[in-house]
Structures are given as structure tokens and as C-alpha cells.
């Protein structure tokens, strides 16, 4: 039985650092939490054929991504004794240096939060139908490849 309804993980553009601070702040009332683990993806200014990446433009197959994320969420909640789990991914254009992925887990003791966070990042990169288009200097582009 599914206990949670699918959440929208997508945000238009970069995820502001202040939003991350505010998300952390909101957990101060949950006094059973002893550990938070956070992963952030930041757009890197890689060089492609001598041209620098200036931004990544993200697109998704949204309904499938949210359905898949819901399944991932359920399985991670089942596997680890975590209190909270939050995932945000950018859509649209995110300039280099800005945050495009925010994964946040919390638990009573540290191991569950860090293991769940690591596993979530792997699932998100491998399983969510999201595509990044690396926009290069001078209007050219290259499709991002995950490794």
C-alpha cells in the first residue's frame, strides 16, 4: 500500500542557497532528528572542445519522472529508518555555479541519513527521465552524459 502521494520535485531554474537554509531551519521542530545528510549538484564549467559550459538546460518527461521518483521514495523509506526525505531538481536553464539538485534526508542516527542520501542520488541520476543540454559559449551545445 502506498502511504504517500507523489510530490512535485521540479523547480524552474536554479535552486537558491537560501531555500536550502530555509529547508534546514524547518526541521528544528522535529526533535527526534539527530542527523541530516544533504547532497547538492552544482553546474560545472566543464570545457568541451575548447568551449566552456555556461549553463545546463534541463528537460524531463514529467509524469514518468514523478511516478518513478514516487517509487524510489517509497523504497528508500522502506529500507532506511529515516524521518524525512526531500528531493528537488531544476528544470530549464541553470547557469554554472548554481545548484540544480538538492537531496535532503534526516534520521535519528547518522548512518540511515547518509546511506539513504547516497542511494537517492544514485537512483535519481540513473532512473529519472531527465536530460541536460550543456549550453556552450557561442550558442553551440552538447547533450550531457552521466557516468
Amino acid at each position: 500500500m502506498k502511504k504517500r502521494t507523489p510530490k512535485n520535485i521540479f523547480r524552474q531554474g536554479a535552486i537558491p542557497a537560501s531555500f536550502i537554509g530555509e529547508s534546514i531551519q524547518k526541521h528544528s521542530s522535529k526533535t527526534e532528528i539527530g542527523a541530516h545528510s544533504i547532497f547538492l549538484g552544482q553546474v560545472r564549467a566543464d570545457e568541451v572542445d575548447g568551449k566552456k559550459v555556461e549553463a545546463i538546460e534541463y528537460t524531463t518527461y514529467e509524469e514518468m519522472a514523478l511516478q518513478k521518483m514516487h517509487e524510489i521514495r517509497e523504497s528508500v523509506f522502506e529500507k532506511y529508518p529515516i524521518t524525512c526525505m526531500h528531493v528537488y531538481h531544476s528544470l530549464g536553464t541553470v547557469p554554472t555555479g548554481e545548484i540544480c539538485l538538492f537531496v535532503f534526508t534526516s534520521s535519528g542516527h547518522r548512518r540511515a541519513a547518509t546511506d539513504a542520501c547516497n542511494e537517492l542520488v544514485e537512483w535519481i541520476k540513473a532512473e529519472l527521465p531527465i536530460w541536460g543540454k550543456e549550453l556552450l559559449e557561442g550558442e553551440s551545445y552538447q547533450w550531457k552524459v552521466n557516468n
Binding site: Y61, L101, A126
Partner: protein, 76 residues
């Protein structure tokens, strides 16, 4: 007419986010027809999803099937 959703680098080949095809009873026929019309597709790596579930073998398509072609994911 069936609408096939395409994403990522496939939008370069199909010049858009979807394509319409008719008379495609199954996924093998769909790929054969698409490759005839868009030879560049032969070199591409992608998965096929029907109703948001990935299928690996030839699968019958119905009128209502939501078919999509998904190049390798690169989120995060």
C-alpha cells in the same frame, strides 16, 4: 495516428518533442518505420517506454498507448 514522445538528443533528430505515425501494431514496427524515415536514429541509444514503463522486448501497441523514446538520462 499515434503520437510518440521524444526527449533529449532525440529532439534534434525529430526536430521536435513528438512525432505522429500511423499503422504501428507493435514497437518493432515502430522502430523500423522511424529508422526508415530518420536514418540518424540507427546510431542513437535509447529506451522505449509504454505508458511510462520501459519495455525491452517487442510489445503490442494500442490506440491509447503513450509511447516515448528516452535517450540515456542525464539528470543531476
Amino acid at each position: 495516428m499515434m503520437k510518440i514522445l521524444v526527449f533529449g538528443q532525440l529532439t534534434d533528430i525529430f526536430k521536435g518533442s513528438f512525432i505522429r505515425l500511423k499503422d504501428i501494431p507493435d514497437t518493432d514496427t515502430m522502430i523500423r518505420k522511424l529508422e526508415e524515415k530518420y536514418p540518424a536514429l540507427k546510431k542513437m541509444k535509447y529506451l522505449i517506454a509504454i505508458d511510462k514503463e520501459i519495455v525491452k522486448e517487442n510489445t503490442t501497441l494500442g490506440e491509447e498507448s503513450e509511447v516515448s523514446l528516452l535517450p540515456p538520462f542525464s539528470g543531476g
